[in-house]
Assembly symmetry: C2
Homo-oligomer: 100 residues x 2
């Protein structure tokens, strides 16, 4: 399965925003079973609608996943996707043989 440059760019763009990078960090450092959107909102102190928009961006990029638990929506980081993304960067780089 060929990894598309466009998809990687979309994931990198999703991470390329201070608020979203902060969201990912908060999700990663949160409980393994996931962090409710409300908890993220309280911790990061941003309006709910803004947070929701950023969560959607990260989710569409495939970097986080959501699972409903009652009235809560638990967000979890997709570590496999993160690994694939960083791997992609280095596959690109090492193909030239200049760095590793």
């Amino acid at each position: 399965m060929a990894r598309k440059l466009e998809d990687s760019a979309a994931q990198l763009a999703a991470l390329g925003h201070p608020v979203r990078l902060g969201i990912l960090r908060a999700v990663v450092k949160g409980p393994q079973e996931g962090t409710p959107a409300g908890d993220l909102q309280a911790r990061l102190d941003i309006p709910a609608s803004t947070l929701s928009h950023h969560l959607a961006t990260l989710s569409q990029a495939g970097l986080i996943t959501a699972e409903r638990q009652g009235t809560f929506l638990l967000y979890r980081a997709d570590f496999k996707a993160l690994r694939a993304l960083t791997d992609y960067i280095w596959e690109e780089c090492c193909q030239g043989g200049a760095c590793c």
Copy 2:
């Protein structure tokens, strides 16, 4: 030296554009001493002014460096910066202990 979230976000944003990711790839796969802007333009088939703008973005983010050689400007990838960036992502992730 503490790596700032904002700086990482800026670097990720620089990579988060298909054309710029393509430029980085071309630079990485090019000769070690650097690739002239004109070569990149011919290979990627984009207007010179557009290319120049993207090169400036990548350069300001600290992902590539430029060195003049006569009338040419040779662009090189900053592998150290790329490594630091991918490392940063995993430092963030592994702090939670959930993934590695």
